[in-house]
């Protein structure tokens, strides 16, 4: 077959021309996708300069007048920047540390379950919340926390002889609620990633350990956990690179965008949304988005360089 193919090839001077012609259909195939990336991703990238413009919807993205760093000055002066950056980073830190620990624990335990049917069954159920939209999650949370009808206020607290709590007006509870909801929704997802890594560990290690009389706990401590190290590092660095981004749905939907709660629920993403759509303040929104994009990009590149150093093949690019 190779022979017929080389036999068909034209002499060298024409080769390039004919190759191009053969390629035309492939470029045609790629056109819709590439056009999409151009519109959806590259035009907005060019439009990021809007952060330095006084936004005028009539003049549009590329013709609004320049205004230097005014948008950034307003953003700094609003005093909200510190809060939203602090919230974004702190929540991310808690999500990373708690999320990794819980997911690994659950994955190890699930791997211990012998029965395949039971294991599949647990996996299916624990992953279910991951498939729900944050709007639906906010309904689920509201069914528990609502002041008028919520299960906690109407059943749990009275049974304990405690007064009802207006959750959507009290800041103190939200860091816990948000962390809980995040873990509840996300644990199935991260657990599956670690479970796949555990399943991939060669059985020979465990056999050898068993022959040496190692207990189950010792096997987990000395074989499973060290084998998970590369996965943990990759996942950790990936999350660090997303440090300036937050799950908009979690921080917008679950606290129902309640203004009183902003000090503990406002993240960069909810600010960008609120400033653009509710406060008609596209300039400050663009400035916050600009900071997020730049720091975000620096973090991804740094994180990738770090992975490259630790283990080359896990690097993303």
């Amino acid at each position: 077959m190779t022979h017929t193919k080389t036999g068909k090839t034209d002499p060298v001077p024409y080769k390039k021309k004919i190759r191009w012609k053969r390629m035309v259909p492939f470029y045609l195939m790629m056109t819709p996708g590439l056009l999409y990336f151009l519109i959806n991703n590259y035009l907005p990238m060019a439009g990021i300069t809007v952060a330095f413009r006084k936004v005028n919807y009539k003049l549009g993205l590329f013709k609004s007048p320049w205004c230097g760093f005014d948008n950034f000055e307003f953003l700094f002066a609003s005093g909200q920047l510190g809060t939203m950056i602090r919230n974004t980073i702190l929540y991310n830190l808690v999500f990373i540390i708690l999320g990794t620990t819980l997911a690994i624990t659950v994955a190890i335990l699930l791997n211990e379950v012998r029965s395949k049917i039971a294991s599949r069954f647990y996996q299916t159920i624990i992953l279910l919340p991951y498939l729900m939209s944050m709007v639906v999650v906010s309904y689920l949370v509201y069914a528990f926390l609502s002041g008028e009808t919520g299960y906690i206020n109407k059943a749990v607290l009275p049974a304990l002889g405690l007064k009802p709590i207006s959750f959507y007006q009290e800041k103190a509870y939200w860091p816990f609620i948000l962390v809980f909801v995040n873990q509840w929704k996300g644990i199935g997802f991260s657990m599956i990633i670690y479970l796949a890594a555990i399943v991939g560990i060669s059985n020979d290690f465990y056999e050898a350990a068993r022959v040496d009389g190692a207990s189950r706990w010792q096997q987990i401590r000395c074989i499973t956990l060290p084998s998970l190290k590369p996965t943990v590092i990759t996942m950790f660095i990936l999350s660090v690179s997303k440090m300036f981004y937050s799950d908009f749905g979690l921080f917008y939907q679950v606290p129902k965008n309640s203004g009183i709660l902003y000090p503990v629920t406002q993240t960069i993403d909810t600010y960008v949304y609120n400033a653009l759509m509710n406060q008609n303040n596209p300039g400050m929104s663009a400035a916050a988005g600009f900071i997020q994009a730049i720091v975000g990009c620096v973090l991804v590149v740094a994180a990738n360089a770090l992975i490259r150093k630790i283990s080359r093949e896990d690097a993303i690019f």
Partner: protein, 298 residues
Amino acid sequence: MGGILSKQEKRMQLLAHIVMIFLSVLALVPFWLLIAASFSDSNYAVAEGYRFIPKVFSLDAYQYILQQWNQIGRAYLVTLTVTAVGTVSSILIVSLLSYGLSQKDLPGRRVIFGLILFTMLFSGGIVPQYMIYNNYLHLKNTIWGLIVPNLLLNGFTVVLVRNYFQQSIPPELSEAMEIDGAGPFYIFFRLVMPLSTPILATVGLMEAVTYWNDWNNGLYYITDNKLYSMQQLLNEMNNNVMFMSNNASQLQGVDVNALPTATMRLAIAVIAILPIICMYPFFQKYFAKGITMGAVKG
């Protein structure tokens, strides 16, 4: 020695099962409360709160949905249309693009691939994107506003599908077809697509859930309630209720009874998640596969 080990194993099994049952219950309890609450009598719910077993059972909330089917059915139809059109076009566009990129001798493929990867690292942010879709492409209040922005294609899926094409489709097959005179499009639809059902099913399923669950695009691009999707309908009801409770004193003229009660809203949420809950168990393995593939790269 063996006895001690097996005893230990047994204890481990027990512990594992207990923790898993606990987590499963934790995962399911909110859904149970949601469903139970949607079947409870609305006045009772306000007086006594939701219960896991409704003390006063009622189908009022679902009757309300039937009465309001004009609006709710419409939202359902919007969600179905968006999910179907979005998923099918997404799969088609992704696989066409990835097939082109999988041609080893395609001039410029490295540059193009690099540009696609770059979209995963850097984004222009929401404001410029909003202005492009809103002011230049006029997607506001059209069905495309729900389908196109952000969801149609992402760099990560392109990487997944391209890798699959490169690794799992033997080049000999397409070469053989080529010699028989088949063009690239013919080869793509007759050979590549059918051979790639595993990856396309996984990607398509993830995509379908994303479209079904999306409320972000509605938030930005839809204000016309004729184009509300189920998720946006739920979101809007949320906002209205928050608005009412925050501004109750100024809203004396408004007929509060016209708004759906709490149980009715929950019933709408139930029918919004019903298709996912019903279909999910059959597709669980695809989801698990999609997630683990994602962990390898990205």
